[in-house]
């Protein structure tokens, strides 16, 4: 684990020194938050919309933006650069465990996602959003967002290791959009049309979104919260295992 942390520190330096790659992960989700609220807030006034629990539509949309912020996967693009530039082989030629090479980037991605999520939630608080689940809910919100980021970058790293192609890895990141739009993104699941409701129910991202949304809109409502954590735990273990397996067989 110490090797993973040493490599994680390097990945964090890399992120810090590439603000042009980091800043869009903050601004693009905020842009979508503003646009979505601007387009739909009048349709769902807080006073008469039950699913908002007395808050504005921005509170309902914040989880979508947090998920988007955790779905850029820039660490995987850095990994492709490293493969193409030869530094990845330099790391593979050291006696460090293959899992540490994978975990180093995931640790850094977790830390970066924590920072981005904190900034976004603070901005939300400034604009009147309340975290109804309190301080514990705040930490769960931030933690779940960061864990989702680890899952997503794990998926993109897998593509990077398999294809060794920046174009393929970049394109793979676009999978987030169908995953995001097949969720109860604009209204709760029970208000979707039947086909969309079925698609959303089958989509694991739905449970992460509903968990985040519950933390923003309701007091700690564990029945809504745990499925999101279960999804990121199962997907996280799967992604780490597949990453380690792929790097161990990397030729």
């Amino acid at each position: 684990m110490s090797d993973a942390w040493v490599l994680g520190q390097r990945a964090l330096r890399e992120g810090w020194r590439t603000p042009e790659a980091l800043l869009p992960t903050l601004f693009i989700p905020l842009f979508f938050l503003v646009v979505n609220v601007g387009q739909a807030a009048k349709i769902f006034p807080s006073a008469s919309t039950e699913f908002l629990y007395g808050q504005g539509y921005g509170a309902f949309q914040l989880p979508s933006s947090l998920l988007l912020a955790g779905s850029f996967g820039t660490a995987a693009l850095f990994l492709v650069e490293e493969i193409e530039g030869g530094y990845f082989d330099k790391l593979r030629a050291t006696p460090v465990s293959r899992s540490s090479i994978v975990l180093g980037r995931l640790v850094a991605e977790f830390a970066k996602a924590l920072l981005i999520a904190v900034l976004m939630v603070i901005l939300g608080l400034i604009f009147g959003i309340t975290i109804a689940s309190g301080v514990l809910g705040f930490f769960l919100l931030i933690g779940l967002t960061a864990l989702w980021a680890v899952v997503f970058v794990g998926f993109m790293q897998l593509v990077a290791l398999k294809t060794r192609s920046a174009a393929a890895t970049n394109s793979a990141g676009l999978i987030f959009f169908p995953l995001l739009f097949l969720t109860p993104n604009f209204v709760p699941r029970d208000m979707l049309t039947r086909p969309m409701e079925i698609a959303a129910t089958l989509n694991p991202v739905t449970y992460v979104m509903e968990s985040l949304r519950s933390l923003v809109l309701q007091d700690l409502h564990w029945a809504s919260i745990w499925p999101g954590f279960l999804v990121v735990a199962v997907a996280g273990v799967l992604m780490v295992a597949l990453n380690v397996r792929t790097i161990s067989r990397y030729d």
């Binding site: 330099k90 030629a93 006696p95």
Partner: protein, 279 residues
Amino acid sequence: MSSGTLGGLMSMSENGNRPAAVEARGLVKTYDDVQAVRGVDLRVESGEVFGFLGPNGAGKSTTVRMLTTLLTITSGSATVAGVDVAADPDLVRRRIGVALQEAGLDPRQNGRELLILQARLFGMSPAEAAERARELLALVELEDAADRRIKTYSGGMKRRLDLASALVHRPEVLFLDEPTTGLDPSSRLTIWDEVRRINAQGTTVFLTTQYLEEADALCDRLAIIDDGRIVREGTPASLKAELRERLGLDADPSLDDVFLDATGRSRSKVAGDVQEVTA
């Protein structure tokens, strides 16, 4: 099999009981239906500078990548620093230094950070790693640039840093894959001096190059690989003498001539096909 290769095998059997720095037996690498390396036998003695030559695509880098644990071995076996490459790759990695083609460095770190990281990955404490980085930066004369991002380094500086990073753990065997390709003459001579100095301290050097003058200047022995097979092996002098005798020449041929003879290429064909081998 050429007489040069026979000479090489003779030296293998003569030295068969001494521990070899690198030993490969019947090394094969196959990608789908393509055999990139077709049964390479090699023995590199401890303390040698061993040159590994061949035209583009002959199998040089593939062989090096198998010996350095970066590629799996399809068949055959190899030991490096006395350790079986396939059976214990981690132990091999602890005993070798690797500077691959196109210095593989992280452009967003500075030189000092890169060396410290490398030293930490070989198990040094932060203080030991910082001290080792300082020593190596002095050694490769990059102290002034130590805290600059690597992306601002020239090609020669990157190669020197890459060389330094391969030395952090004082390896027994140093693999250098075309360490001077693309460098200006001055930088090339600096790298040559470094290779000599490293070897003088007891490190075995396994050097691949396309520059025959480089092999002539640096290597105690060399092997030429073509189409995935070793086609000549011996000292530069013995290879030249063998060709002189075989062709009945009045004077010793150059290593270029040995290379062209071994790989079945003519000077006119080389001029059109692979100009770099005529350097």
